[in-house]
């Protein structure tokens, strides 16, 4: 534990050095962050913060929607932000590339950097808080951080239990021979952790690369892989209609019961990757994905294409306090007319 913390400290100071060196004396990228096109460029996630919506995207963009209008908020980073999470209407976190974690205490209006390390060369892809103190952040190649103090200190964890059996023995051999190579190999062997959600029974469900679907009943200290019949990446998961849906590459969506014992593949009319899902208050389940697809899934799990927006990948979906649904993706934020 203490070794990893130390590594992070080194990483952070290295990161600072690198960034100081690369910043041109006359040019501060943060000062030009607020731009008219932020709303219509790549936006990767939307979350509810009380009555308002907060969206994040490329170049560290943060946008807040309070009265139907999106307003860009200055953010402390220029790294791409991939996910935003609100514990309540005030406390929120966003994660992204360069292992960035930023934090807000006022519902998304101002942000501070909690953690960043360009040196790990990996993105964080999701973040989840159980209460104001305890939370986890997950990302590419099994990147996993945990905090117990509201994000002041983030400690890395390695989820060896999610390695493939052959990789376990390979790593064990390597550790004996070459410590440095062992560390670098270990950092690349776990699959991407794409999404982690908390189910209604307080279990954690994490999905990711290479058909990873894993659950945890101890807030993510240990995971149990849930096998099913597909090896492609899963990008998101949702609990809806008393079932769990996981979704990912090339139009693959699976439905399972909460014990993960019965699996059923949902037939989609498209082969595009499904990036995310959302259930409205009325109980409509939306799936969104690449090639601009927006799909509605009815209670019989039959799919119906609502829209196909050419040349656009859709990644996020959320409804505002009026019940209006917002979408986001490679061409920014939009509503369906």
């Amino acid at each position: 534990m203490s070794f990893r913390t130390l590594r992070n400290v080194v990483a952070i100071s290295l990161g600072c050095l690198i960034s100081t060196a690369s910043v041109n004396a006359q040019f501060d990228p943060l000062s030009v962050q607020i731009q008219p096109l932020a709303e219509s460029s790549l936006v990767l996630d939307i979350a509810k913060a009380g009555d308002s919506l907060v969206a994040v995207g490329e170049r560290g963009h943060v946008l807040v929607n309070q009265q139907q209008d999106w307003k860009q908020i200055s953010s402390p980073v220029i790294s791409q932000l991939t996910k935003v999470f609100f514990l309540n209407e005030k406390q929120g976190w966003a994660v992204g590339h360069d292992a960035t974690i930023i934090h807000t205490e006022d519902g998304g209006l101002t942000w501070q950097v909690q953690f960043q390390s360009a040196e790990v060369e990996k993105p964080l892809l999701d973040i989840l808080f159980f209460n104001e103190q305890e939370g986890i952040a997950v990302g590419a190649y099994g990147l996993f951080y945990r905090t117990a103090d509201g994000g002041n200190e983030w400690v890395q964890e390695f989820h060896e239990e999610l390695l493939f059996p052959e990789d376990v023995s390979y790593l064990a051999d390597l550790k004996a021979e070459d410590e440095a190579l062992y560390l670098s190999e270990r950092a690349a062997l776990l699959p991407h952790f794409n999404r982690v959600i908390q189910l209604s029974d307080n279990q954690l469900l994490m999905v990711g690369e290479l058909g990873l679907v894993a659950t945890s009943s101890d807030n993510g200290l240990t995971f149990t892989a849930q096998p099913f019949d597909y090896e492609g990446s899963m990008f998101s998961a949702i609990e809806a209609n008393n079932a769990v849906f996981v979704m990912g590459l090339r139009g693959h969506v699976f439905k399972t019961d909460k014990l993960f014992s019965q699996w059923q593949e949902i037939e989609l009319p498209v082969k595009s990757s499904i990036n995310n899902a959302f259930i409205t208050e009325k109980g409509t389940l939306y799936l969104v994905g690449n090639a601009g697809v927006i799909i509605e899934l009815d209670s019989n799990d039959s799919a119906n294409i609502v829209a196909r927006r050419q040349g656009e990948n859709i990644v996020a979906i959320e409804s505002d306090n009026q019940g209006q649904v917002w979408f986001a993706g490679s061409k920014g934020l939009f509503q369906l007319k």
Binding site: Q26, Q35, L42, D98, E121, F235, Q310, V315, S330
Partner: protein, 784 residues
């Protein structure tokens, strides 16, 4: 002294008039033959300011990125759907035909059928991909369905296939030089033997496009739309042919006018013939100096003809006067020659110098215009000041007595006009002039730079070419209004995250400028490729920090994309603009400069500019920068010439002030009529001033002699009017009619030039008979 010289010259000329006329005939035959060899010529590089900073960047990287000389061919199926066997047959033929037209850079022909048009898709175990039209393509329903799927996967909708699938696109890059044919090789001599290439003949190329693509393949169901500089130049040349008709009309109208003025058939024919001789010489000399006829300089013959006629009319006017006074025709001709050689020569010389000042503008086409126009005008000195009186001297002109009533009427007109030379009227005239000038000046300052309409500015909006342009910009996500900013860096620069990140920052900041619709660069494309390598997940649409991943992403972008050169030391950033109006360009250029200044380092330089709008930006800047120096030179030249011929500052000012007021009003007119200052309209002011000064010189040269003798200003002006007034007014009208036929030209820029020149010729004439006497009245209040 001068008089002695002129007299001696006259004696010699008239004594040997037969030989002189004979040599004129011989020269005319020779130059006439040369003129018949004249070719239309419209090279791309002539239209751009090659020494402008942007154009240096443009030429430097032209080899890697082809620059701006591209053509686009959109093949449309009028049924609205291209996925049918007939269409694909035609498309294949059009592709092959285009590929083999000489001048097309074959490695850069892009269409559905080019092997470099590929798709890639993400599958569970990596990538799958191949050519959009597979090698085993069969042109049937099954094959077409495969192609349709591949088209979607390849992401070429909007580029190679129109957004509504009703047409498909072919693009080609043109070379500046093409290989000589065997025949041409056999013909070439000496050092030329070793040169195996010749410059691309744009107009011939355009004709090949028209015949071999549109002519062959356009049917009821297939429409071919072609755009690009070469096609435009071809259409402009085609439109310029209409000029011949205008030329005939201009000759006809002028002939009628000259007849009404001279009341004599022989005196109508002679000045016209001499002027046509001047035109022949001018065209012949173009071949001799190695120029072709350009759609823009095709207007010069009109000018030469009109100027020739107006000087010819001065000449016959002078001869007739003397005949009326009782001299025989020969003596009258000789005397007219003596009296007109100096003022006429000075006037024509100042025209010549006025045109030559255009040489200061570093745009090839304007320089050619300067040379051909000044040649033409200089030739008039020989044909209409020397040849014309010599030929007249062979004729016998009967002194037709003027109708006394009519004569009295005209004298009354001159009498009334001469009031402008009284202090009372002079003050009124000058105050109104000042007000008019103030108003004009204010309007002139709003004059726009560059092209104000969409499409190709040389052509009318409803021309086939511009309709084709609108078809393509409406149906594809393509605009012809783009510029590229060239990023120069060290070799292998694209393998450094920090450098690509700078380019990405640049692209983002410039992309947020009003007027920029979208952008593309190696950085932004690599980001999307990186997402592709990560299972198409948009969350990976970043520049990877890991060098290996970055190289992997960048490596997928081929050099044919135009986004990088072979060793990626040069990476253009494409800026697609909403239009090419000067204001739009200025805003974007200013932003690029500002951002570039912030981001430029020793290892990374953002440089303007290439692409069609880059060229326009350079041209706009060159044109607006040239305007002031050009005005200074042309007025400087006119000033010096007037000073030499009048030896009086007052006289010089009296000639120049009206001219200056009229130039300002012409600029105001440009603002009102939405005519932008462009390569075609820039020379107009110089032409207008150069020619406009003639009126003043003719009137004041008569006046100043009488003023020196101590005559009162009003009387001096009256006598000048009697002697030269009708000729001056006539000249103004002839010139104006000659150029006003251009109103009906198929070419928008000829129309613009026609409007402006007509205005300048007419209003300069008014200036010379209204403002000039008013100024004189103030300058010479007391007779000497």
């Amino acid at each position: 002294m001068l008089e002695k010289l002129v007299n001696g010259f006259e004696t010699h000329l008239f004594r040997n008039r037969m030989w002189v006329i004979l040599s004129f005939i011989l020269i005319t035959l020779f130059l006439g033959y040369q003129a018949s060899q004249l070719k239309m010529d419209a090279a791309f590089s002539k239209n751009i300011p090659l020494n402008h900073e942007y154009m240096k960047t443009y030429t430097k990287h032209q080899k890697d990125f082809g620059g701006a000389n591209r053509i686009m061919v959109s093949v449309e199926d009028t049924s609205g759907n291209i996925f049918n066997p007939e269409y694909f047959d035609t498309l294949k033929k059009v592709h092959d035909e285009l590929f083999f037209i000489p001048g097309v850079e074959r490695s850069q022909v892009k269409s559905l059928y080019s092997p470099s048009t590929r798709f890639t898709e993400v599958v569970e175990d990596g990538f799958a991909g191949g050519p959009v039209i597979p090698a085993d393509f069969r042109n049937d329903d099954y094959g077409l369905n495969v192609v349709r799927d591949n088209v979607e996967k390849a992401g070429i909708v909007g580029r190679l296939v129109s957004n509504d699938y009703s047409s498909a696109m072919l693009t080609a890059q043109l070379m500046d030089f093409v290989a000589k044919t065997d025949e041409e090789m056999a013909e070439s001599e000496g050092a030329e033997k070793d040169i195996t290439t010749k410059p691309l003949n744009t107009i011939q190329f355009a004709k090949q496009l028209e015949d071999q693509l549109r002519g062959k393949y356009e049917t009821d169901t297939i429409k071919i739309h072609i755009i690009g500089f070469a096609k435009m130049a071809g259409d402009v040349a085609e439109g310029a042919k209409g000029v011949l008709l205008f030329f005939l009309i201009a000759i006809l109208i002028t002939a009628v006018m000259v007849y009404l003025f001279s009341k004599s058939l022989i005196l109508t024919i002679l000045p016209l013939v001499c002027s046509l001789v001047a035109v022949t010489w001018q065209l012949g000399l173009l071949t001799v100096v190695g120029f072709g006829l350009d759609p823009m300089s095709i207007l010069v013959p009109f000018l030469v003809f009109a100027i020739g006629v107006s000087h010819g009319v001065q000449m016959i006017n002078a001869v007739r006067r003397r005949v009326l006074d009782g001299q025989n025709t020969k003596a009258a001709s000789a005397s007219a020659f003596r009296s007109l050689l100096v003022p006429g020569g000075v006037a024509l010389l100042s025209d010549t110098v006025g045109f030559l000042t255009l040489l200061a503008i570093d745009i090839g086409i304007i320089r050619e215009l300067a040379i051909s126009a000044s040649l033409g005008v200089a030739v008039i000195i020989l044909t209409n000041l020397i040849l014309l009186p010599l030929v007249i001297s062979y004729t016998t002109i009967k002194p037709t007595k003027e109708d006394p009533v009519k004569k009295a009427k005209i004298e009354n007109l001159w009498r009334s006009l001469s009031r402008f030379a009284t202090p009372k009227y002079a003050v009124i005239v000058l105050i109104s002039t000042a007000i008019l000038y103030g108003f004009g000046f204010q309007q002139a300052s709003n004059m726009k730079i560059g092209d104000l309409q969409g499409g190709a500015p040389a052509l009318h909006l409803d021309s086939r070419y511009n309709q084709d342009t609108f078809h393509i910009t409406d149906n594809y996500s393509i605009t012809t209004d783009y510029m590229t900013v060239i990023v120069e860096a060290k070799p292998e620069a694209c393998t450094y995250h920090s450098l690509l990140n700078e380019i990405d920052q640049f692209e983002w900041m410039v992309g947020n400028t009003p007027g920029v619709e979208s952008t593309a660069s190696l950085a932004s494309v690599s980001k999307r490729v990186n997402a592709g390598f990560n299972e198409g997940n948009p969350k990976w649409q970043v520049l990877p920090r890991t060098t290996a991943s970055l190289v992997q992403a960048v490596g997928r972008v081929p050099t044919t994309s135009g986004l990088l050169n072979g060793n990626c030391s040069v990476m253009p950033v494409f800026l697609f603009l909403k239009d090419h109006k000067a204001e739009t360009i200025e805003v974007v250029i200013a932003k690029v400069k500002q951002v570039a200044e912030q981001l430029n380092t020793d290892t990374l330089q953002f440089k303007l500019a290439s692409g069609p709008v880059g060229v326009m930006a350079a041209t706009n800047e060159a044109v607006s920068e040239a305007q002031l120096p050009m005005m200074i030179y042309v007025y400087g030249a006119v000033f010096v010439l007037c000073l030499i011929s009048f030896r009086s500052l007052k006289a010089t000012v009296a000639v120049i002030v009206p001219l200056y007021v009229v130039s300002t009003l012409a600029q105001a007119l440009m603002t009102w009529l939405d005519i932008g200052l462009a390569v075609s309209t820039l020379p107009v002011i110089a032409l207008g001033v150069g020619i406009g000064v003639d009126y003043g010189i003719y009137i004041l040269s008569t006046m100043s002699g009488k003023l020196t003798q101590g005559m009162e200003v009003q009387q001096a002006y009256f006598e000048a009017l009697v002697e030269r007034g009708s000729a001056v007014i006539f000249t103004g009208l002839t010139l104006a009619i000659g150029v006003s036929t251009w109103f009906f030209s198929a070419l928008k820029f000829q129309m613009d030039m026609g409007i402006l020149l007509t205005f300048m010729f007419l209003v300069n004439m008014l200036g010379a008979i209204i403002i000039l006497p008013a100024l004189s009245a103030i300058f010479w209040r007391k007779p000497k």
